[in-house]
């Protein structure tokens, strides 16, 4: 008797697990190459250009890092929520509102406020706004059990429409001669450069350490893990699930808010409705690929920032739409998602299985 059968496997050794994941990424790149071929592009040339475009010159490395910063911070925020199996896909809106609050402070506090004070005030405002935007779905989830996926997603659209309203309405810069633009920040509201890249990278590294310590070394972080593993267990252990959800979501949204503040302060030096630039969605992929591990997030985000920057480069240099990068991103995640099967299950040939029984 032959045939195959799927059975659950015991825990896989670490090195074998990494091998499976690496194999998945390698296969996904081959597969992405095939997709590019189908679109009539030369995959080798595209991949080469993605690398040249992202780390080929000092300037491009800087651009890659600048893109890794918001991605990394938003991924950290998402990872805390996802650990709890709270599907926060509202990062884009939380980024947007964080940026909006920071802009409100930057434009109203005056240009004579000392820079550190101004930046601190902007950051606090961004944390509050991003956190608040995450708090709304969190409190409904905690109190009523409302589905958070759609709730957080709809809040993205509302946040973006709100900034459109501001940009075309009350916040329009009279000096822009009718163009729907919000005023540029004065110098004291702009993040300074440190070693050639704006100081957001320091914030990102601090947050990596913070999330790592929170998730692995604190009681609250442990509780977040337990709620994610099993709500029943958490309840049995006497944990206050509602308050855990709310605290974790405040952190999640707060961090996304910081990402927005950094984009407004260092990149746009103003606010636009597209300030989120899809980082909030890409961060979902990176957080998952990093298995919601803070340190891994850092490296995955740098790799993805290379894809984003490389994508921007090929658009200009080769006249290939930058969306190639998101096709490659999606393909990588598909393969990694598929590979998780092989970590949990193994395929046994029927005859072998019978032997095991005998």
């Amino acid at each position: 008797m032959t045939g195959v059968r799927v059975t659950k496997r015991d825990v896989m050794p670490r090195n074998k697990e990494y091998a499976v994941r690496l194999l998945a990424v390698a296969l996904s790149i081959v597969f992405a190459g095939v997709i590019l071929l189908l679109f009539g592009l030369n995959p080798i040339k595209i991949f080469q250009s993605l690398i040249v475009g992202s780390i080929g010159t000092k300037m491009r490395i800087k651009q890659t890092l600048i893109k890794a910063i918001p991605l990394c911070i938003a991924s950290l925020g998402i990872s805390v929520a996802f650990k709890m199996k709270f599907w926060n896909i509202g990062a884009e809106g939380q980024i947007t509102l964080g940026a909006t609050a920071a802009t409100f402070v930057a434009l109203n506090l005056g240009s004579d406020v000392p820079r550190p004070l101004m930046l601190a005030a902007m950051m606090i405002a961004a944390v509050v706004a991003g956190g608040l935007w995450a708090f709304i779905p969190a409190i409904f989830k905690a109190r009523l059990g409302t589905n958070e996926t759609i709730f957080t997603l709809m809040l993205n659209y509302i946040a973006i429409k709100f900034v459109m309203y501001l940009q075309y309405g009350p916040w329009i810069d009279p000096a822009a001669q009718g163009f729907p633009k919000i005023a540029k920040f004065s110098g004291n509201a702009v993040l300074p450069d440190v070693f050639g890249v704006h100081a957001g990278w320091i914030i990102a590294l601090v947050l990596v350490a913070f999330v790592y310590v929170f998730m692995n070394k604190t009681k609250k972080g442990y509780e977040v893990n337990v709620v994610g593993q099993s709500v029943e267990t958490a309840r049995y252990a006497g944990m206050n699930i509602g308050s855990i959800i709310v605290v974790a979501m405040l952190m999640s949204g707060g961090m996304c808010g910081i990402a927005g503040m950094i984009q407004a302060s260092a990149i746009e030096k103003s606010l636009t409705y597209s300030i989120g630039n899809n980082y909030g969605f890409t961060a979902i992929i990176t957080a998952w690929l990093a298995r919601l591990n803070a340190v891994a997030i850092l490296f995955v985000c740098i790799a993805f920032a290379m894809l984003i920057q490389g994508g921007a480069y090929i658009q200009i240099a080769m006249n290939v739409p930058s969306s190639v990068a998101s096709i490659v991103q999606g393909t990588i995640l598909f393969f990694v998602l598929g590979s998780e099967f092989f970590l949990q299950y193994r395929i046994v040939r029927m005859r072998d299985a019978q032997k095991e029984v005998a």
Binding site: T146, M154, M164, I284, P321, S323, F334
Partner: protein
């Protein structure tokens, strides 16, 4: 008033297809958050096929196949490889968005050929269109809309009155029991995820071929996500899906209507209304006591026979 209601139907039709598609998918126990991505794939595939073949039938076929193709990726990963449904669906949306904007970039600003537009022109149905009041609303529409009416009825009959439909409900409610009673669970899941994807693709094609026959960036604009929410509102029932779709079609054109009446306000604030209303519906359909609107009991759970 009648004109407004007739426009609600036009605006609601893409939602209708997507909602019924997602109902079929969720009834099989799969929550596919890739609706937005599949609608985009359908929109671009339908548009490209319409441009190159000038044949409306082929355009619809292309859209359905593209949506089903996206759904196939989802089905392989979640059914066969038992991957996390939430993340897989989200990835499908990101992937679909990427593929669509890649294919769509050179098409920006192109219009649907007149042969195809003519096929989707408004046609009054004999007799029915003369019915008082509702005739003008329901029966002076394009063929795609009529197709939508038929879809509602056919899918409701399928779901509640046929053996495969009832089996499908069993798969979603209690996968293990369905499996034990000899239903081929995986085949049911695959078939309905693919059919759901095809319908989402058609919903997208209605947008790009009929509603806005000029290719533009992000034609779907979040309607896929609204459809996912409206499945809850329709309580997984294809007939109720009709009312959900029309109500939200109406909300999405409310701004234009009010402006036409001479009221002045920010367009962007009115644009928020459908999204806000979706949130209200998600909140209202939450029942803590576990009764009613929770959907198929075994949704989002990967099924593994040995776990039984």
């Amino acid at each position: 008033m009648q004109t407004f209601l007739a426009t609600c139907i036009v605006a609601g039709t893409p939602l209708l297809f997507a909602i019924i598609g997602e109902i079929m998918t969720e009834r099989s126990g799969s929550l596919n958050l890739g609706v937005e991505g599949m609608m985009l794939l359908g929109a671009v595939a339908g548009f490209v096929t319409a441009m190159s073949t000038k044949n409306p039938g082929l355009a619809l076929l292309g859209a359905a196949l593209a949506g089903a193709g996206g759904a196939l990726i989802y089905a392989i990963l979640t059914v066969t490889f038992r991957a996390n449904q939430t993340v897989t669906g989200l990835t499908l949306t990101i992937f679909g968005t990427g593929v669509t904007s890649f294919i769509g970039q050179p098409l920006l600003g192109s219009t649907i050929p007149s042969e195809v537009s003519a096929f989707f022109a408004k046609r009054a149905l004999p007799l029915l269109s003369d019915l008082p009041f509702i005739g003008r609303i329901l029966f002076r529409q394009d063929v795609f809309v009529y197709f939508g009416y038929a879809l509602c009825i056919v899918s409701a009959v399928y779901l509640y009155r046929t053996r495969p439909g009832l089996n499908l409900i069993a798969v979603g409610e209690n996968t293990a029991a369905a499996d034990a009673s000899g239903i081929r669970v995986d085949a049911y899941k695959y078939a309905h995820i693919l059919a759901g994807g095809a319908l989402c693709g058609l919903g997208g094609a209605y947008l790009s071929i009929v509603r806005i026959p000029i290719w533009q960036v992000d034609v779907v604009a979040g309607r896929g996500w609204i459809a996912v929410a409206l499945v809850i509102f329709a309580s997984w029932n294809p007939l109720k899906a009709f009312f959900a779709a029309m109500l939200f079609g109406g909300l999405s054109i409310l701004g234009l209507r009010l402006q036409a009446m001479g009221l002045s306000f920010s367009q962007y604030l009115v644009d928020m209304v459908p999204y806000l209303a979706t949130i209200v519906i998600v909140i209202l359909s939450t029942r803590k006591d576990g009764k009613g609107n929770l959907g198929p009991a075994n949704m989002s759970r990967p099924y593994f026979r040995e776990d039984r």
